[in-house]
Symmetry: C2
Subunit: 155 residues, 2 copies
């Protein structure tokens, strides 16, 4: 059994345990320097918060336990195809490798695929399900927001 | 002043206050039925967690204060162009409208743009900065994960 298979099976076991506890079939482990440094399962059944995905919670747990630097160059093993929210969270965190066991194709018959959101993200905002617009509001008499941040950074 | 301008200015004021508190220049308000039901600012300076974006925290705060149903059909007004993580979180939460004041183009001179991540998401995984792969690991002798979830759902 390769390391990838071992960590994926750990993620799948977490997902099974989550199903048995009434949750959705998703688990994830974060691996740094060959060791599991954090895990997560989908907690939407407990929190009612649709952003409580296994991978996002695993990333948040890893940061809280080991600091953000521990994520740099880490790998995330997920039972299922990460959604774009989680994939971007990993990207922002400096994760270098993402491996998953169940594809969106595997999930589609169970409505467990986020392929439609990936498809949307390939298209201009005008073709998304949400109405998305830039309205360049500015507060009169205020220093520009980004310039104010930049000035403070330079101090 | 339109409602959009008013809510955007509220998000920008939150971002200014966050800058003054040592944080990054991002704020967001969630609006349901014409009222602000939750707000958020970027808290990465406090938590060291790169996923603590204003919009994601505003969504999480809205769910915790009002339940997930309050997000359905809501609008999010953000000071800056939402990143793909936050945009997907809004999509998953059932937000129907997203308005932002500062574009990625406004942010680019300050390295406050996530256009490069949007660009990546338009391309196949093989062209992303992270190595991303499906390895179809399965646990021998175990019921299929998604079938197990489906069976439990049917109960």
């Amino acid at each position: 059994m390769t390391d990838a298979d071992r960590f994926l099976c750990e993620a799948i076991e977490l997902a099974h345990a989550n199903v048995e506890a009434g949750g959705r079939p998703f688990g994830a482990v974060v691996v740094g320097n060959g060791q599991v440094i954090a895990t997560g399962v989908n907690e939407t059944h407990k929190s009612d918060d649709v952003t409580d995905h296994a991978e996002l919670l695993a990333i948040r747990a890893a940061v809280r336990a080991h600091g953000s630097e521990a994520l740099r160059g880490s790998a995330v093993y997920a039972s299922g195809h990460p959604c774009p929210m989680c994939l971007t969270a990993m990207r922002l965190a400096g994760v270098s490798e993402v491996v998953f066991a169940y594809s969106n194709e595997d999930g589609a018959p169970y409505s467990l695929s986020t392929a439609h959101i990936y498809d949307e993200l390939r298209r201009p905002f005008s073709e998304h399900a949400m109405k998305i617009a830039c309205v360049p509001a500015r507060i009169g008499g205020r220093e520009d927001l980004y310039a104010a941040w930049s000035r403070r950074q330079a101090k």
